[in-house]
Amino acid sequence: MIRAVLVMNTQGKPRLAKFYEFLPVEKQQEIIRNVFAVLCSRPEHVSNFVDAESFFGPDARLVYKHLATLYFVFIFDGSENELAMLDLIQVFVETLDKCFRNVCELDVVFNYSKMHTILDEIIFGGQVLETSSTEVMKAVEEISKLDAASSAINLVPKSVSSWRSR
């Protein structure tokens, strides 16, 4: 089972944090800090595994990938395969790339809900349900359409917000 998915930048600022079991927010922030402290101390081109038992309880493992200015971190337990998790990070990043066309940190920063929508299509309550980025994209697009259609009913805020965002 996957316990948490974290995306943070190389300064340690969290960009996405999804925990699949309830944790108080203080604990979440502490974990994010601890993970960052470990990750930033690791040199480039070393293995992507870190022992996570110290901050996530027994049997916790951590896989991360450092891409551009972001760390993508998956924390999981013995029911998952380490290399498969590494692949899953790849699937996640690929999907983001398709979604945002050459994803960069800013896309991640400004698309909080979309990030979650994508992640939710891949991982469901800690279990991997979808591993094809094409399938994920299909679902995400449909959800976005539905989202847009439903909020289009409220014309005023829609037009205002689009006007304001220009």
């Binding site: 293995s47 290399l83 309550g125 805020p157």
Partner: protein, 964 residues
Amino acid sequence: MAGSSSSIMDNLFQRTLDDLIKSMRLQLLNESTFISKSIEDIRREIKSTDPQTKSTALQKLTYLSAIHGVDMSWASFHVVEVMSSSLFSHKRIGYHAASISFHDSTPVLLLITNQLRKDLSSTNHFHASLALHCLSTIATLDLSRDLTPDLFNLLSSSRVFIRNKAIAVVLRVFDKYPDAVRVCFKRLVENLESSDPHVVTAVIGVFCELSSKDPRPYLQLAPEFHRILVNSKNNWILIKVLKIFARLAPLEPRLGKKIVEPICEHIRRSGAKSLVFECVRIVITSLSDHESAVKLAVSKIRELLVDQDPNLRYLGLHALSVAAPKHLWAVLENKDAVIKSLDDEDSNIKIESLRLLMAMVSESNVVEISRVLLNYALKSDPEFCNEILGSVLTTCGRNDYEIIVDFDWYVSLLGEMATIPHCQKDEEIENQLIDIGMRVKDARLQLVRVARDLLIDPALLGNVYLHRILCAAAWVAGEYVQLVRNPLELIDALVQPRTNLLPPSIRAVYINSVLKVLCFCLDCYLDQDEGTASSYCGNLAGGQSEMFLVKTHTEAPELVATTREGSNYEQDEGFNPRNTTIESSDDLSDENDTDRVGTLLSMKNFTHESVVSLLNRIELIFSSLTANQDVEVLERARNIFAFVQLVKAEIIDNSGQNVDKKYTQVSAVIKSIRDAFSMELGPVSISAQGRVAVPDGLVLNENLDDLKAICGDIELPSSSSFYTGGPQFGTASDASLSNLLKNDESGPSNESTSLLEHRKRHGLYYLASDKSETVPNDYPPANDPKANSNINDEADALAKLTEQSLLLKKRTNQMKPRPVVVKLDDGDAAPIPDKRPEPINDSLSGAIKDVLGSEANLSVSRSNPLDKSSTKRKGKKKLGTNLPSEMKENLGDAEKPDPENPNPSSKSKERRRRGKEKIVEGEEPEQRGKKKSSHRHGRHKTHQRANSPLNVVSQAPVIPDFLL
């Protein structure tokens, strides 16, 4: 009207989430002020009647909570409001907020049941998907119970998008509400046969999680899993199936034979490293009896070890260390790669390779491997350095130094480790130094030498990480002072000025050692003068020796404290040990003969002047300590100070005279102290306390908390009773107050038999007192750790060494035999009872076993499974309870194909289970009672007990199918 217009205004000027993020990015300084201002806005906006404003506010709040750790528990009611919106965009925000902020004790959870039910049955599958997502993280017992019927419907939904999510939710629902198993399990299993890989992924994922808690109930599904293992082409599914088999295979020996071939096939064929690694892992963990498979797996591991990718190298090493306990040959075969990895830049890889290296260590190569590892430690960063030292210490210390033959070497190694710059393993080294001292008599000489080298170096006193080691060294030197070559030098080392850098507790140990050494010197000096006649203290010593006997009886084999007494002890049962003189040293045991003679010779050199000067020096130094702040130091210093003054007076008085009875009083005192110190400290079994009978009238569980308050302000009385009262027995009272001595650290003596002498001993510690004059300035040079400079060759050197030593496992016999290591008969570490891990979720696996056992019934009466089973089964209860013992014996019969059901088609399985169901159903009535019982937990346990043997039986009919 006013309300709606204000909400429109709100709406117009409300910041969206994007706005919030943008302004936060512009807000370079003081993020927290900005956040708290935003929260203020949100608090206002979220109360708005306009759903758009409300949901936007909630979205912002969710964002702040998830990314910036803002508490949002106060908004839970608003979350419920937004969830219930009919608009998808609002609903989505609401559900997301619920899934990240709700937990089991959120009060408003009770309000969302109907909303969830409505959304679960919505025709819009995205609505249903939102509800499922939310349930997967927040489902509670109540929600699970109430929504189980809805989930049951979704489990066979025609829309895969929904069905696989419903399957995944089942995991959480089972966990929270085990009775849901009775309703949903059958459909869950049916989904295993789905042709859609998404559905299979989801089901297998659920079974993988379920089996991680208690795999036994799922043995019956092994045929299904096997089919997937053979037929599936999806690596994700295969990995999960392998995970399940890794847990099932140890439970059912026949399973291994069936799965080993397909697994090997995957190892050979698959190009996916993740799948291959998973296959390798299951082979080395669960199929280690299948030799050819293990060989194949190890060959794959070798490929991983030499890969460019550090991830694969790491996993390869990891797999090797998993294999090490059962297949050490696999590690040995790959030792080159392992040793090379010690130099890797990746700390994960280094640590794994260190672990493997330690797994390779044996009696014959421990010296070489430790040597090279220590050199690695010298050049490593502090963290890895300590990792290495820790591993060496643990490996060498395992099972009472099982692999150590040459203790002189090991003791020197400990000393060397202590002086490695980054060493922080002080506690472990301290313990081992003392432990070896107590256990290995033959190592004491070297131990004392090492201790002396450590103590004498003033530089070491400045390193806080060495203090504990120095403490051990001081204790060793004091305890085995008769082996010290130059006691005077030792005293100088123990009282050198830099000892004021030590913490008081360790300084107290130093002072005690001074006392021991001093007494030893005085004793020798007096012996020189007195010759053989010292019968006056015979009685005293005799009594002492009796205590000695009692003590050795319970603690350690008979070891003797001083050489002279030692030889004596052997001769006449320890009585009157003062009767003989140094001359009796010729019947010393042979190995240390020369050294001891050296010691004795140096002892003989105590002249009157040297003794007086020694006393003066100690008197001087300890007079300054008598003003010390710390009570431990103060007390001991005062005692020594007083003792020295007493002794000095008499020695100076008597100088010149040469009467028989000179030094009478001092001699008595010193002999008594020496005798007290002569007590051998041995290791104490940790179960020793348990063997002490509780005296009548002693209430052990009396609350002693008040005692601290009472005793807190009582100062320890300075124990002056000795030289006023004479014999040491008088000191028992104050001795009992001061048990903080190092002897407690080293050898906690719990036996009641030794309690008396324990007190005596400690009492004596506090007796003496004195001073001395000068502090020597010219210490011998500090012993620098001699670093091997040619580090580059070390990997090669180590490779060679391990090769040699591993090849010649049985080397030529060691030059000297392994010394006796004192072990207590029952072992020092209480053997951890070999308990099988208790199944964590009794109720869940119990429920699953029931369902699997009665699956046939359920299929007949799916509409109302529970009623049917209960009516039908009541009569069988007795049968069920009687069964376990019989059935175990009948297991062999059960393996035969069921006569009812000879045709081996896949459909026959179910009928066969039905054929056997008589056996299983026995416990069902009890099961039903439990449903209504409030004592769910206890009941389940009893049920479990009755059930587990049955399970063995109920699986039996399945496996034959599987074999066909």
